[in-house]
Structures are given as structure tokens and as C-alpha cells.
Amino acid sequence: MIKTKARILVVDDDVQHVDTVKTLLESVGYSVDYAYLPEKAIEKAKSSPPDLILLDVMFAGPPGPDGVETSRRIHADAALKKVPVIILSGVRKVLDLPFKLEPDDEWMPVTAFLEKPVKPDKLLAEIARALGK
């Protein structure tokens, strides 16, 4: 199915969610790395750039950058500039945030915005679309 083993970085503070996504993606042939905190994710991405980043927006735990900020920082790194970012969040699109969150290349490298809960068909289709770009 997947010819090259694409590397996907999953960033989410929900351990169960990371586990489920990792299992699903690996089952269809992706190589999956993960991080529970944004700082950690940026660090990992810099040390070993992934082919795609799957990113949550809101993070529990110590104060740090949110998903949007994280994607901006990644985008700011020259080596990671072209890496597509898919946001997968429990945040209900638009209603929960005071700013526009439509995918837009102009200001952040988000290629898709998925709302939890997402079904595997939809998630895999969006990942395939982002990687195919």
C-alpha cells in the first residue's frame, strides 16, 4: 500500500490517543514517532525531521506553546518549512478560538484541520492527501 515508509510525528498530551493513532498508522505502514509536549515535539522534529506532523492544539501540563504556536515555530525552521502539519484537536473548529483557524499556507503550515473524534478513514485520507502534495 505505502511504498516509502513515511515518518509521522504525533504530538498529543493524551497518552491513550497517541497509542491508538500510533497503532493505526503503523498498521497501515507508517513509521510513527510521538511527543506529549510541544517543546519536546519541536526538539524531536529538529533533530530528525518527520514527513508529517499530527498536532493537537490544547495541552495540559506546564505552561508552554499551544499547537498553533508550535506549528509556527516549526514553520520558522528552514529545514522543517515544507513539513505538512495536520491539526487533530478536540477544539471545535472556530467556536472555541478567537481567531481564524482555516488551513492557510500564508501564515502557518497547517494543511488540514481535523476535529476529534475522527474516524480512521478520514484521518488516513487526510494524511495520504498531505503526503501526496
Binding site: D14, T23, L24, S27, L88, V94, K116, P117, V118, K119
Partner: protein, 641 residues
């Protein structure tokens, strides 16, 4: 119209009517009375005039009576030829005539022949028995006084100078004489007559005496107050009426009307008469000779202007009194009205203040009459209103407080609901992804039983998801956090398509077809995110309650100034009486076709809230067993690009 204006008009009308009637009555009474009084006055004047006229005659008669007793006169009558006696008597009588200022003094024999004529002693022995005065004395053997006409012959006999005198004033050789004749008796036998008289022609003594005793020669407004005239027939022979030149109007004639009545019929004439140049209230009486023939007229006139002016003054005085009284009465009335009306006006102002909400205003009660009672009642009413208002304010405050408590409770509840729902999303996210990954075979093939159980679990998770979404929306709505930011939105691209995307799996599951005739460019004015919640809810309902294998139809149109879009699905439909219940919070309809289908009972409530916050309307219609259709209409600037 104000009460005061009404009463003013009323009372002024009453006063005016009374005033005008009183003035009219006064005027009428004055008029009638003044004229009657003036006429009566003229009647009195003429009676007095006659007294003066006759008193002279009586005096002559009295003088003659004394002379008739004179022995020498008797002797002379027996012997006319006694020259010495004649001269003696003549000179004595001449002295008397001159002294009495008489025109004639004659001694006649018993047949009426002149024996002695004092004026012209040479003329004697002529017969004057056609003189009615003489005739009467001969016949009745007693004295007779009065007025007689002297014809030309008689005048001539008395003296040519008298003829000339009379013609000077009238053109007719005729004279009118007042005087008397008295019989001279001896032993009861008529032996002669003595006659003395005065010609009235040109003589003013009599009329001036009448005028002076009645009117004291008074002038009014440059005119004599009264005048007297003696007419010979209709000719003025003795008068103090002055003509235009200021001369006595002797020689002029009376009017035909007067002459007809007085001379012709022998009656008095009373009325207004224009005498030379002024109106006089006049009376003309006939003058008769001893035979009773009308030979002239006595006239007395009283200046009318004096009466008219008196009357005018009286009328004016009366009117002044009437109108003065009216003004006084009205002033008193207005003052009384003011004292009555001013508390009414105070009451009126007070009710106005009360109606504007000033409940603390009270009226000062000054009188103990009905107005005072009314003011008391007003104050009592205001007091009650104030108390009631305080009570209402208290209970309103209480209500407000409780409402606030309820709001806080509700907000807390909604906060909690939102928080819990949100917290549920994360675990639900991994649960859905996990279950579907297994169910859809990504992690290996499943047995039929495994597949059935997982399908059921997945369905429960979907319901849970729907519930969470609805509770989050509800929480936002109830907390008032849902802000509507309207802009022009393309219905198909920005709202319908994203909503349909999430529903594709369910549509496929139920083998339903979705038809849309919404034009690409159809636009409406709304908050796109909020409207997406509406369209998602309507569409997911259409899928959930639609007939398996049936179709869903979405359409949009402009209807007046409204943008309308509808979602219609084939299916069992909803009973008409239950359609409205659908839009209530937590409403669930128990119908055979909904059995076993889970719902939160919030979807349509949320839709209605959002649509109404847009100022629009949402409604449902259905034909049982055939279809259900929901229609959303939004107002505002609708443009189709």
C-alpha cells in the same frame, strides 16, 4: 374645551341676553314714557295758555261791568244830544282805553248802534249788531267775552288805521279781536252795551305773556324752549316763533293738515310739528267766537329736542347702569369661578404629575367642600399608589434576586456541562478512533459477532459524540457566549458542503441520496459557524429520521427580503400537532418511527435559538408517511453574486 371656557361662554351669554333685554326694555319704556309725558306736558301748557288768554278777557269784562254802572253813561244813553255830557264821558273813556291799551272802546244803544266811539268819536250811529259778541249780549242781556272776527267794513268803521294795520300783517283786511261786551241795564231793561277789545293782529303781548309764564323765555341749544301763536283762521297773526331771519313769523300760515283738522273739524291737533326749522311737540286748539264758529287757532309748542335729549340721557344712564351691573356681575362671577376652578386646576396638575410617576406629590387641602373631599381622595389614592409601588418594587427586587440566583445556578450548571463535555471529547476521540480502526478492519479481520458488537459500540460512541456536541452548543447558548457575527456567506460552499462531508458515511449506510438545487452563488447574511451548526443538525436529522433508500432534498430561494433554505427528507413524517414541540428544549417525540433512535432533544432547539438570534424563523411541516421539511428564513441583505 376647558371647563373655564365653557362656563365663561355660558355666563357671558346669559349676561349678554339679560343685558340686551334690559337695555331694550329700558329703551322702549323710556321712549314710550318720554313721548307720552311730553304730550301730556304740551296738553298742560295749552290749558295754561288758555287760562292766560281768557284771564285778559275776564279782566276786560270786569272793567266793563264797573263802567256799565256809571250814571253819566246811563244818562248819555237816554240823551245822545247832550254835547257837554258826551264830551265828559268820551274823555273819561278815552283815558280808560288808553290806560288799558285797548284798540276799541265803544258804547252802543240797545239795538247795537254805536253811540260813542272812543277811537274815532266823529264816526257814530253805525250798526254793529252782526258782531256775535254784541248779538249775544242783546239776546241774553248779560256780559260776553271772547274772540271775534272783524270784517273789512267793521274794521273800517272802527278806523282806517286799523284796516291798514291788519293788512300789514296778513294781506287780508280782517282782524281778530279779543274782548268783551257788557249790557248797560236800567231797572232790568237793556238800554245799551259797552264793548272793549284788542286786535290780536300783530300784537305780541298775549303770546309773549303765555310764553314767558310757561317757558320763562328759556333757550335750548339756541332755540326757544317753547313758543305760542295765535292764528286768525290759518294765518299767524300773533306769535313769538321766529323765522329764519330772526323776525317774528307773523303772516305765515299753518300746515294744511293742521288747518283741516282744527279749522275744518274743530278738533285739537297734537303731535310733532316742524316749526320753521326745529321740531316742536305741539298742540293747536280751535279758537271759537261766541257763536261757536271756529275762527282761529291757539298754538303752544315745546321744543322736542329737549325731550329727546332728556330721553337719550335717561336711556344712556339706564344702559350705563345695566352694563355697569353686568360688568360687575361678571367680575364677581369670574372671581368666584376662579376660586372654584383653581383647586380643580391644582387637581388636574397633580393627576398629570401622578401619571408621570411623581407619586410623592400631594395637594394642599384648603376647603371642606366637594373639591376638598376630591383632593383628600386624590391624596389618599396617591398614598395607596406609593405604598403599592413600594411593595411592587420590593417584590421586584426579590424576584430579581431570585432570578439572579437562578441565572448563577444555571450558568454554573452550564459551565460544568460545558467543562464536562469538553473533557469527554478527548477520551471519546481516542475511543472512536480505536473502535473504528478495529471495526473497519485496519487491525485485522473480525468475526461476524465481533463486527456486530463493535458496530453497536461505534453507534453508541457516535451518539455520545452528538450528545457532547449538543451539550457544548447548549452550554454556549445558555451562557450567552454564542456571538453572531454576520457577513455575506455562500450557502453551498461555506455551510452546506462542510456539513454534508461529515454525514457521508451515514448517508451511504442508509443508501440515501442527497439532492441539492442550491445555486453555487446563493448567498445569505449570517454567522457562518453558527449557521453551520443549524445545517448540520437539520441534515443529520434528515439522515437519522429519513427513509432508508430515500432522498434528502436541499433547496434555497429568495422570498421577498428573506433568504430561505429548506431541508426535506422522505420518511414517516411527524404528526402535525407535534411539529411545534420539536423546537423545545429536551423534546423527544414518541412516534413509532422514532423508536430506537436516540436523540438529545436539543438539536432543533439549538437551531431555533441560532436562527432567532439572526432575527429569522425556523418551521417544520410534514405529511405523515411521506415527508418532513424544515424551513429556515433569514432576513437582511441578501445578494446573489
Amino acid at each position: 374645551m376647558k371647563l373655564q371656557t365653557k362656563t365663561n361662554i355660558g355666563i357671558i351669554s346669559v349676561f349678554l341676553i339679560l343685558g340686551v333685554s334690559a337695555a331694550f326694555m329700558t329703551f322702549k319704556w323710556q321712549n314710550d314714557h318720554a313721548i307720552k309725558a311730553a304730550e301730556n306736558r304740551v296738553r298742560l301748557y295749552i290749558r295754561a295758555g288758555w287760562e292766560i288768554y281768557n284771564s285778559k278777557i275776564e279782566r276786560i269784562q270786569a272793567t266793563l261791568k264797573v263802567l256799565a254802572e256809571d250814571q253819566r253813561l246811563q244818562r248819555l244813553l237816554r240823551d245822545h244830544a247832550d254835547g257837554a255830557l258826551l264830551d265828559e264821558v268820551l274823555s273819561e273813556l278815552q283815558a280808560i282805553r288808553s290806560d288799558q291799551n285797548m284798540d276799541i272802546l265803544n258804547v252802543l244803544d240797545s239795538s247795537g248802534r254805536v253811540i260813542l266811539r272812543t277811537r274815532h268819536p266823529e264816526m257814530r250811529y253805525d250798526q254793529v249788531s252782526d258782531d256775535p259778541m254784541i248779538r249775544k249780549v242783546i239776546k241774553e242781556r248779560r256780559g260776553c267775552g271772547g274772540t271775534v272776527l272783524l270784517d273789512e267794513k267793521r274794521l273800517g268803521a272802527e278806523g282806517q288805521d286799523l284796516v291798514q294795520w291788519c293788512t300789514r300783517y296778513g294781506g287780508e283786511a280782517e282782524g281778530m279781536m279779543t274782548g268783551a261786551a257788557v249790557p248797560i241795564l236800567r231797572n232790568g231793561k237793556l238800554i245799551g252795551i259797552i264793548q272793549m277789545g284788542n286786535l290780536l293782529n300783530g300784537s305780541v303781548e298775549k303770546v309773549d305773556r303765555i310764553r314767558d309764564s310757561l317757558f320763562e323765555n328759556e333757550q335750548y341749544d339756541g332755540k326757544p324752549v317753547g313758543t305760542a301763536t295765535v292764528f286768525m283762521r290759518d294765518l299767524r297773526i300773533s306769535t313769538n316763533v321766529l323765522d329764519q331771519n330772526g323776525a317774528r313769523a307773523i303772516g305765515t300760515r299753518a300746515s294744511e293738515e293742521v288747518a283741516d283738522r282744527v279749522l275744518g273739524k274743530g278738533l285739537s291737533w297734537t303731535g310733532r310739528a316742524l316749526v320753521v326749522n326745529a321740531w316742536y311737540l305741539s298742540q293747536y286748539d280751535p279758537i271759537r267766537d261766541p257763536d261757536g264758529r271756529v275762527i282761529g287757532m291757539l298754538y303752544i309748542g315745546s321744543l322736542e329736542k329737549r325731550y329727546l335729549d332728556q330721553r337719550s340721557r335717561a336711556v344712556f344712564m339706564n344702559l350705563a347702569i345695566v352694563f355697569g351691573g353686568m360688568v360687575l356681575a361678571m367680575t364677581v362671577f369670574f372671581l368666584i369661578m376662579r376660586t372654584i376652578l383653581s383647586p380643580i386646576r391644582r387637581l388636574y396638575r397633580a393627576t398629570r404629575r401622578l401619571s408621570k410617576g411623581d407619586l410623592s406629590h400631594r395637594i394642599e387641602v384648603r376647603s371642606r367642600d366637594e373639591i376638598g373631599e376630591l383632593s383628600d381622595s386624590f391624596n389618599y389614592m396617591a398614598e395607596q399608589l406609593l405604598e403599592d409601588q413600594l411593595k411592587i418594587q420590593q417584590s421586584q427586587a426579590e424576584l430579581e434576586r431570585r432570578n439572579e440566583e437562578l441565572r448563577v445556578t444555571n450558568r454554573n450548571y452550564m459551565e460544568m456541562l460545558g467543562f464536562v463535555s469538553h473533557e469527554l471529547k478527548s477520551p471519546l476521540g481516542s475511543a472512536v478512533l480505536g473502535v473504528y480502526s478495529v471495526k473497519d478492519g485496519y487491525l485485522g479481520t473480525l468475526s461476524e459477532a465481533q463486527q456486530r458488537i463493535l458496530t453497536s459500540v461505534a453507534s453508541s460512541l457516535d451518539y455520545l459524540n452528538e450528545m457532547i456536541k449538543h451539550y457544548l452548543d447548549l452550554s454556549r447558548l445558555e451562557k450567552g457566549e454564542l456571538k453572531i457575527n454576520k457577513r455575506i456567506v455562500r450557502l453551498k460552499e461555506e455551510i452546506l458542503e462542510p456539513s454534508i462531508q461529515g454525514l457521508m458515511p451515514s448517508l451511504e449506510d442508509k443508501q440515501m441520496t442527497l439532492e441539492s438545487d442550491v445555486p453555487e452563488l446563493f448567498a445569505l447574511c449570517c454567522d457562518p459557524q453558527a449557521m453551520r451548526i443549524v445545517s448540520e443538525n437539520l441534515l443529520s436529522n434528515a439522515v437519522k429520521y429519513g427513509k432508508t433508500g430515500g432522498s434528502i432534498h436541499v433547496s434555497a430561494m429568495v422570498c421577498g427580503d428573506q433568504a430561505v433554505f429548506t431541508v426535506m427528507n422522505e420518511g414517516e413524517g411527524i404528526a402535525r400537532d407535534k411539529l411545534d414541540l420539536l423546537f423545545r428544549k429536551f423534546s423527544r417525540i414518541d412516534q413509532p418511527n422514532t423508536a430506537g433512535k436516540k436523540g438529545t432533544g436539543l438539536g432543533l432547539y439549538i437551531c431555533r435559538e441560532i436562527v432567532e438570534q439572526h432575527g429569522g424563523k425556523i418551521s417544520g411541516e410534514s405529511v405523515a408517511g411521506k415527508w418532513t421539511r424544515f424551513t429556515v428564513s433569514l432576513p437582511g441583505a441578501v445578494t446573489i453574486h
